[in-house]
Structure formats: structure tokens, C-alpha cells
């Protein structure tokens, strides 16, 4: 199974809608260990991304990812604007075809994990969204032989495992760093956003299967 350009567009729009709908969940999560602006920043970014993705006239699926990611970077502000902009924009060059297949989906998550770590300097264990995207990418790559739905399911499950693991971590990055032990007991808000995005992508792929 593979998604056409228009199906990929619909999947990306569903991801944007999921962030927009969950703004209060993200705000609460960030108020617990950060400064509480994650939800509002993400909503601003993904609202702009949705408009850009809907308006795009792409020659490849990668150009849809690029349109969405660039909009997030330009409008979201803060650290999460760059990080979640790269989450979408990272695979823009690799996905040069007209369809998104299992290998393409996995390469998206791998490119996102690689580029986000390179720019943000956060490593697994730092209690950031890297803790969700890295296991998501690894699980997705391991499932490539089983088809697109299996890859999307593995990616979302990997992100959830990673997000759950951040609950017990002490932050060593971002504004939660200064909380030390006090950050324990709460998931990282960026990791939570990662699960929301990959759950929405999985749900769309499942509907189309």
C-alpha cells in the first residue's frame, strides 16, 4: 500500500488538526514542567502548516512535507517551532516521488530524528521529543518489510514508548532543565506532541487500508 499525493496531503492535514484540537492538553503538560507556551506555539505553527499544505501544488510528496514544515518554522517561534518544523521538513528531499510507501514513511521519521538531533543538540535521555522520535524511527524502520500500515503503527507505538519513558527522566535541556528532580512524574510536552502527530498519521493510514 502507498499513499498518493492527495492522500499524503490529507494525512498531513489530519496531523495538523490533531495538534490544533489538543492545544489544552499540550498547555497543561507544559505548565507542569515548562513555561506553558508549548500548546499555543504548536497550534499557531500547525494552523499555518495546515493552510500551507492545503494550498500547496506539490510536484512530489516531499514538497508537501516541506510546505508544512516551513510554515511551522516561520510562525511557531521558540524552540518547538524549529524542532517540529524540521519534524515535517526533514524528509523533503528524500521523498521526491509521487507516493508515500512504507520505506518512505520510515525514511521520514529517520530523517526527522537525525536532523532534529543534529540541530537541537539533544540526545536520547534528555527528556525531549528526541526520546519519542528516535524509537519511533527505529520501530518504523524495523517494520518496513511489513507494509505501510505496519510502519505507521510501529512508529506511533515507538513514540508512545519513548514518551512514557520521559516521565521518569530528569530534563537536561530546555526550560525544564532547571527543575531538576521536580520534572520527574511528568512526560515531556514535545514527546507528547510527537505521539499526537504520529497517532493521527497512523489513524489516517488505517482508514485508507
Amino acid at each position: 500500500m502507498e499513499l498518493s499525493i492527495d492522500q499524503t496531503r490529507a494525512m498531513l492535514v489530519a496531523m495538523c488538526d490533531a495538534i490544533i484540537e489538543n492545544v489544552d492538553v499540550l498547555t497543561k503538560a507544559d505548565q507542569a514542567i515548562g513555561d506553558g507556551d508549548h500548546g499555543v506555539g504548536m497550534r499557531r505553527g500547525f494552523k499555518a502548516a495546515k493552510e500551507a499544505i492545503e494550498a500547496a501544488e506539490p510536484g512530489s510528496v516531499g514538497e508537501l512535507f516541506k510546505a508544512g514544515g516551513s510554515a511551522v518554522i516561520a510562525t511557531s517561534g521558540g524552540a518547538s517551532g524549529i524542532i517540529f518544523g524540521l519534524f515535517l521538513r526533514a524528509p523533503a528531499k528524500q521523498l521526491s516521488g509521487q507516493t508515500l510507501d512504507a520505506a518512505g514513511y520510515a525514511s521520514w521519521l529517520t530523517a526527522a530524528a537525525t536532523q532534529i538531533q543534529a540541530r537541537g543538540n539533544a540526545k536520547p535521555g534528555d527528556k525531549t521529543m528526541v526520546d519519542a522520535i528516535v524509537p519511533a524511527a527505529e520501530a518504523a524502520q524495523a517494520a518496513v518489510g511489513d507494509g505501510l500500515l505496519a510502519v505507521a503503527e510501529a512508529g506511533a507505538a515507538g513514540a508512545h514508548r519513548g514518551k512514557d519513558a520521559t516521565v521518569e527522566m530528569i530534563a537536561s535541556f530546555g526550560k525544564a532543565k532547571a527543575l531538576g528532580e521536580r520534572a520527574k512524574g511528568h512526560p515531556d510536552p514535545g514527546a507528547l506532541s510527537t505521539t499526537i502527530l504520529l497517532d493521527a498519521a497512523r489513524d489516517y493510514v488505517k482508514e485508507q487500508s
Binding site: 513555561d35 521558540g78 518547538s80 524549529i82 540541530r119 535541556f173 526550560k175 532547571a178 531538576g180 521536580r182
Partner: protein, 331 residues
């Protein structure tokens, strides 16, 4: 707790209206470009460029410190959030006179990510050379590389402004500002929280009888949460921490900055200043310059910070060089 009252219009217009206010008050010396950039109307041809910036809500820093002998442009993010990279790119292009551009801004993850990407995009587009010296003066935390940028940023911006006005090259300006960064330490104390203008909610909570030494500009946890104490006891704790950190030594000449975080009275700052002078005098540290006022605020946060900058002839010259901006000028 009752929401904090603010004299504003629509919350989404706050940043834009602040920038318009600075443009109006500049009497033609500043203009807005690319939505979030405040830039000098006339820039001396051939000078090294200086761009500063960061999240809004900390006025007068960084936005207002634009003018002759200060920054050539500032980039304003949303309240307490880093500006997006395209604004940084636009600011760099607007000030570039062919000698390269220096960036000075606070060491926060979001700012570094956005300024780095904005600088790379500017370099890709025009080939402009860009260097960065982060403001990282908050000695509440031990690791030098991850220190936050707070009140001492005013001195670093002032020195960067003079260095970029005088320097023959980007490297020369960068070296002077780096020396400032290395010689600069700040420690703050919070007595009461400021609020987020969008929501009216406080950014952190402190007990009625509590203060927090080393608390960050956005409510990040500091060195020590303590019961309210007499000014002299607090001042000694802060000066001892600051002096031990660099360390500053007998015979050093320093500039001394008392920064009001927003709502502290001049009455309190003078009581603190008097004690700080006494303590530094006892240690044999000579105060060559003193600044007292609101340079780097966090809305109506009550509290203040003390900064020490160890001077040599070059830094003293740059700090005392003439400059003009909306909120700080000297002859």
C-alpha cells in the same frame, strides 16, 4: 488569584504595537521592517553590523537598544518566545554593510535554534558572514556553557554596540564582546512573579514570605528559595556568590549594574547599592562605573539583579563610549 491588570489592546497585537511605539518615539531614527525587526533608518556605511533580539516582554531589553553606538537592528519574538528565523534573516540583511554581522542574544535553546537557522539562511542568500556571542551571565547555575542570559546583557549589548561601531573587522568586534562575556556575571533575586500578558497568570508562585535567589527571567528555578531577609543579608549573599564565581579579586576594576526586574522600588535598590559598594570596597574591588535602573525586565516581576563586569582599558573605553537609543543614551 486575581488576574493582573495590563494597559493593552488585543493581546495578539502587543508585540507589533510595542514596535510601533519605539518607531514613533525614535522621531525618525528607527523604522520597522519584515514585521518583527526594528532597524536604524541610517547606518554608517562600511560598519560591522550588530543584531540583537529575543522574546518580547522583557523591555527595554533587547528590542529598544537600537541606535548609534548600540545595535543596528533588533528582532522581537512573541512574549517570552524566541523570534522565528526569517525575522533574524531579514535583520541581518537589513544591517549588512559588507563587513559581516555580529549577533548578541541570550543563551536559551529556542533563541539559539532560531538565530542559528536565520543566520545560515542569510549567509546562504547573500554570503554575509555572521558570528554570535551569546549572553550567558547568570551564575545561578554552575555549567558555563548552559548559563542563561539575564540583566548583564545590557552591558554586553552596550559593549557590542561600541565595538561594532569602532572595529575594523567582524573578528575584532567579536573578540571584544567575547572578553565582555567572559568577564561578566549576574545574579538575580525574585520577590514576586510577573505575569503573562496574554493570560494575566503569574509565571511562577512564591510564598508570601519567600524569595528566590537566582530565579530565571521566566521563572526558572534558582539557587536558593529562602524566607524574606534584611537587605544587607541578601546583598552579602549575592555579592559573595558573584565575586566567588569569576572570581573577582582585590585590585580588579569593575562596572556594577543594579537591574530592576520590573516592580522593585528605587528605595530598595539604593539600600542594596549602598551595601554592595561597602562590601566590594572591603574586598578591594574598585567600582569604576555604576548603573542603576530597569534594563532587563520580566513584566512586573518584583526583584532585581546585580551584575559585575571586570574591566580592562578596552572594555572600559567601549562601555563609556557615546551611544543613543530610545531607552539608554550617554554622551
Amino acid at each position: 488569584m486575581a488576574k493582573v491588570k495590563k494597559i493593552i489592546n488585543e493581546t495578539e497585537n502587543i508585540v507589533s504595537e510595542v514596535l510601533d511605539g519605539y518607531v514613533a518615539a525614535s522621531m525618525g531614527k528607527l523604522r520597522r521592517t519584515a514585521d518583527r525587526v526594528l532597524v536604524r533608518s541610517e547606518i554608517e556605511p562600511g560598519k560591522v553590523g550588530l543584531v540583537i533580539g529575543g522574546g518580547s516582554g522583557h523591555e527595554p531589553v533587547y528590542t529598544s537598544y537600537v541606535g548609534k553606538g548600540m545595535a543596528d537592528a533588533s528582532v522581537a519574538g512573541n512574549i517570552f518566545a524566541a523570534p522565528a528565523p526569517q525575522f533574524v534573516t531579514a535583520a541581518i540583511k537589513a544591517v549588512d554593510q559588507g563587513k559581516g554581522v555580529l549577533l548578541v542574544y541570550g543563551n536559551y535553546a529556542g533563541d539559539v535554534l532560531n538565530f542559528d537557522m536565520g543566520a545560515e539562511d542569510a549567509t546562504d542568500d547573500t554570503g554575509v558572514e555572521v558570528r554570535t556571542v551569546l549572553v550567558a551571565d547568570d551564575c545561578a547555575t554552575p555549567d558555563l556553557a548552559t548559563r542563561r542570559g539575564i540583566g548583564g546583557g545590557f552591558y554586553q549589548v552596550k559593549i557590542a554596540g561600541a565595538a561594532c561601531a569602532e572595529a575594523q573587522s567582524l573578528e575584532e568586534a567579536e573578540a571584544a564582546v567575547n572578553k565582555c562575556r567572559q568577564n561578566l556575571r549576574t545574579l538575580g533575586v525574585a520577590v514576586a512573579a510577573g505575569s503573562l500578558p496574554e493570560t494575566g497568570e503569574p509565571t511562577f508562585t512564591l510564598g508570601d514570605d519567600e524569595i528566590e535567589i537566582g530565579l530565571g527571567a521566566h521563572g526558572e528555578v534558582g539557587v536558593e528559595r529562602a524566607k524574606l531577609m534584611p537587605a544587607d543579608v541578601l546583598t552579602k549573599k549575592m555579592i559573595d556568590h558573584l565575586v566567588a564565581d569569576l572570581p573577582y579579586q582585590a585590585g580588579d576594576r569593575v562596572a556594577l549594574l543594579f537591574n530592576n526586574l520590573g516592580a522593585t522600588t528605587q528605595m530598595e535598590l539604593m539600600i542594596v547599592a549602598r551595601k554592595a559598594f561597602e562590601l566590594l570596597g572591603e574586598m578591594g574591588i574598585e567600582v569604576a562605573r555604576c548603573d542603576i535602573g530597569a534594563f532587563f525586565c520580566s513584566q512586573e516581576m518584583a526583584g532585581f539583579s546585580i551584575s559585575l563586569l571586570k574591566l580592562d582599558d578596552q572594555l572600559e573605553h567601549l562601555l563609556n563610549a557615546p551611544c543613543e537609543s530610545i531607552t539608554f543614551s550617554q554622551g
